[in-house]
């Protein structure tokens, strides 16, 4: 074990997982999770997020590789000895116990005295702002209240690490946003490490210190939210996080950081950041965020022409769908300001971008 491993509360090393012995659900998973970090696993459905969480919690064995908790390999430690708190997608509150009994359960199995456990349960209920609900059954609570009880139960025995598997999946949008804030707040005030699973990217972006984007059993990119959004390393991440315009082309030259690309559909020659585009002659997918497009400026760099197909008024900005090259899904967000002349549907206007805002990525 290398020195400094103690800084990482969790470490996955070349972990693979297969359920049926034929396909790998998790292909080669490596991650270091820092103490006190809020790390989110984000990915489409079926990409293996829950599987990774289950391996960490001990409910599924890893087919290959090693998982370390606090520097100790835990492949052979049964779940109840791992001391990891867990919030399940459907909360899994015990229906035959009251809220207070649910919260006292982890304390009772640890042999804590009734007085101590009562005090802790009370504090935990206060933390999630449900102090008067201890006597109720889970079925008598609303979805959001159940969710808070589930969080309190996972935290009441003071674990260093809490796993949350899409804990807000069943809630409506308003409540979800409120709960996101609450969970984030609890994380900050307690200093626990959280591994959080979601397939809602805005949830991931607002809550996390770092996000691991999952697809196809591997981590596509592991980075802070702003890095993921602004510097995606491949086309999957660019597509998955936020809105994205893509144009396909062929690399004609790579010059240091910059790549010269000829667009397939129009033959325009443009420049982009060479991130993940191979060398001369390779196919590439250019990725530009809608808010970085310069519209209506004849002198813009990397200028092309586009035709306005649809305009949607959204108050602070206008969402403009354009036909550029062979794509008619080219989105431009035009700030609603005097500097921008009113656009009309059917109008042909120049579009362009600063080279640094356009990333040449792999073909999917």
């Amino acid at each position: 074990m290398e020195a400094g491993a103690q800084d990482h509360i969790v470490r996955f090393e070349n972990v693979q997982k297969s359920y049926d012995g034929e396909t790998l659900v998790v292909k080669n998973f490596n991650i270091d999770i820092d103490r006190g970090e809020f790390l989110t696993m984000l990915g489409p459905s079926g990409s293996g997020k829950t599987t990774c969480l289950m391996m960490l919690a001990g409910f599924e064995p890893a087919t290959h590789g090693e998982i370390y908790l606090n520097g100790q390999p835990i492949n052979n430690v049964p779940p109840h000895k791992r001391g990891i708190g867990m919030v399940f997608q459907n909360y899994a509150l015990f229906p035959h116990m009251t809220v207070a009994e649910n919260l006292a359960f982890p304390l009772k199995v640890r042999g804590m005295s009734k007085a101590d456990s009562d005090a802790k349960v009370k504090r935990a209920l206060e933390m999630v702002r449900l102090p008067q609900f201890g006597g109720r059954r889970p079925a008598q609570l609303s979805g959001g209240q159940q969710q808070r009880v589930a969080v309190a139960r996972a935290l009441v025995f003071e674990p260093d690490l809490v796993l949350m598997d899409e804990p807000l999946g069943a809630l409506d949008k308003n409540l979800r946003e409120e709960m996101q804030f609450e969970i984030k707040h609890i994380h900050e005030s307690l200093g626990v490490s959280v591994v959080y699973v979601t397939h809602d990217q805005s949830e991931a972006l607002t809550m996390s210190n770092r996000i691991a984007v999952f697809n196809d059993g591997i981590v596509q990119q592991l980075a802070a939210p702003e890095v993921l959004y602004e510097q995606p390393e491949n086309s999957f991440v660019a597509q998955f996080i936020g809105e994205n315009n893509k144009l396909s082309g062929t690399v004609t030259a790579v010059d240091g950081e910059t790549a010269q690309v000829t667009l397939k559909s129009t033959g325009d020659k443009v420049a982009a950041l060479a991130v993940n585009c191979g060398g001369k002659g390779d196919e590439t997918l250019l990725s530009i965020r809608p808010e970085r497009i310069i519209i209506g400026d004849e002198n813009a760099p990397n200028k092309m022409s586009g035709k306005v197909v649809e305009l949607i008024y959204l108050g602070d900005h206008i969402r403009c769908r354009m036909e550029v090259g062979d794509s008619n899904e080219f989105i431009v967000k035009v700030p609603n300001s005097h500097a921008h002349a009113a656009l009309k549907v059917g109008e042909v206007t120049p579009v362009g971008w600063v080279t640094e805002d356009c990333r040449a990525l792999d073909m999917i």
Binding site: F59, P78, P79, H80, M86, N90, H96
Partner: protein, 421 residues
């Protein structure tokens, strides 16, 4: 909401009628239509099930045969003092002669004889004998002539019995069904060596409880495996559980006879591997062991199915949550999984117990004398002794006992806690 609750009195519909009334009117047509749909089944059940059973149960108190066959005798006998140590006088015997003449004509006197024979052995032959000879009697001096036919006519006890059972209704069958009778001094239990029904009733309950327990213990793990196996395997296993339903009950019971008898498969195997001495073969049949084994097998599916359907609804994440909270396998099972399956145990136990307590064929075939149930006795009275009144009374006792146990169960466990899925 606030403006409607603000006004006092019941809520009104737009036309001023109370909302409840107009709602009921609106729903009436719907209800009628729903009733029409179930009407055929309802009629079928009433005609073929409820009415016959009601009629049958009515026989447990019905006693019309005595006043119907001996109308005049009963009327005159009312004046006779039953506590006197002397047989009734000439007037009663005159009436008896008149009644018996008609009865012998219609041949109802033998049925009356067997009815009264339940209450006092010997009366049956008394009536048969007298019925044959009543035609030859000369007018006058009937008391003497009757006593000449059979001196039992002078026995006060015969007349007491007739008087006691001269009403249209009787509690005699019910008393008999709990080993009691109205004797000369009122309520008393029958002699120790004649008591049978209370004991049988007790044995029926004890054996049914034992069968319910073995079914629970054996069925729980099977249901658990069924509920947790991948669908492919659990379907196969489910077919195995249901397989017994595809064969007739008689065949299954007979199979147990083949297995359990002293020269049967189980004993042969035990002898062959040397566990049991050939001369001391186990008595697995014609006793309570046989009844318990065979009935546990036959009733097991009724425990497994409700348990299975309840276990199916217990999310596996409960156990996982318990383990992640620090509970070991046993605690997670006992504190979290098991309490959530109790409704299934409740449903299965009620089902098995109620089926067991009324079971008939299996105890009859493998139970011997020590393993039979109260229902075997009921069947005996229905088909062999033809004492339908007693059979009906025993049936009512059995039924009310089940209802009482059901009530107790509801008090202790709560019937809301029973779930079939």
């Amino acid at each position: 909401m606030s403006d409607t609750t603000a006004q006092s009195g019941p809520m009104l519909a737009a036309d001023g009628t109370p909302l409840k009334v107009s709602l009921a009117r609106a729903l009436r047509r719907q209800k009628l239509r729903a009733l029409m749909l179930i009407a055929p089944l309802f009629l079928f059940i009433v005609i073929t099930f409820l009415a016959p059973i009601g009629d049958m149960l009515f026989r447990s108190v019905e006693n019309a045969i005595v006043p119907d066959t001996l109308p005049e005798t009963v009327a005159v006998l009312a004046d006779w003092d039953a506590s006197s140590e002397e047989a009734p006088g000439e007037d009663v015997f005159t009436a008896l002669h008149a009644d018996l003449l008609i009865a012998a004509e219609e041949k109802t006197h033998t049925r009356l004889g067997s009815r009264l024979n339940y209450e006092m052995p010997g009366i049956s032959s008394l009536f048969r004998k007298s019925g044959r000879k009543v035609d030859d009697m000369t007018p006058g001096n009937y008391k003497e002539q009757f006593i000449a036919i059979d001196k039992d006519w002078g026995n006060v006890d015969v007349w007491r019995t007739i008087k006691r059972f001269s009403g249209d209704y009787t509690a005699g069958y019910f008393l008999a069904s709990i080993d009691a009778k109205i004797g000369h001094d009122g309520f008393e239990f029958v002699d120790e060596d004649q008591r049978i029904y209370l004991f049988l009733l007790w044995r029926t309950i004890v054996l049914s409880v034992a069968i319910t327990l073995t079914c629970t213990i054996l069925g729980y793990p099977v249901a658990w495996i069924l509920a947790n196996l991948p669908l492919r395997y659990s379907n196969l296993l489910m077919i195995l559980v249901l397989l017994p339903f595809w064969t007739s009950l008689l065949v299954r019971t007979s199979a147990w006879i083949v297995l359990l008898q002293q020269q049967g498969v189980i004993n042969d195997t035990l002898v062959a591997i040397g566990l049991v001495d050939d001369l001391n073969r186990l008595e697995l049949m014609h006793n309570q062991t046989g009844t318990i084994i065979a009935m546990t097998h036959i009733l097991l599916p009724f425990m497994i199915l409700p348990l299975y359907s309840v276990m199916k609804t217990v999310s596996p994440s409960y156990v996982r949550a318990a383990k992640s909270l620090g509970a070991n396998d046993w605690t997670a099972f006992w504190k979290v999984y098991f309490p959530n399956t109790v409704p299934g145990i409740g449903a299965g136990a009620v089902l098995v117990f109620i089926l067991a307590i009324g079971y008939y064929i299996t105890p009859e075939l493998v139970g011997g004398t020590s393993g039979i149930f109260i229902s075997n006795r009921i069947a005996y009275h229905i088909s062999s002794s033809l004492n339908w009144g007693l059979a009906a009374a025993l049936g009512v006792v059995l039924l009310s006992m089940i209802l009482i146990l059901y009530w107790v169960y509801d008090k202790i466990v709560g019937i809301d806690n029973v779930k079939l899925g």
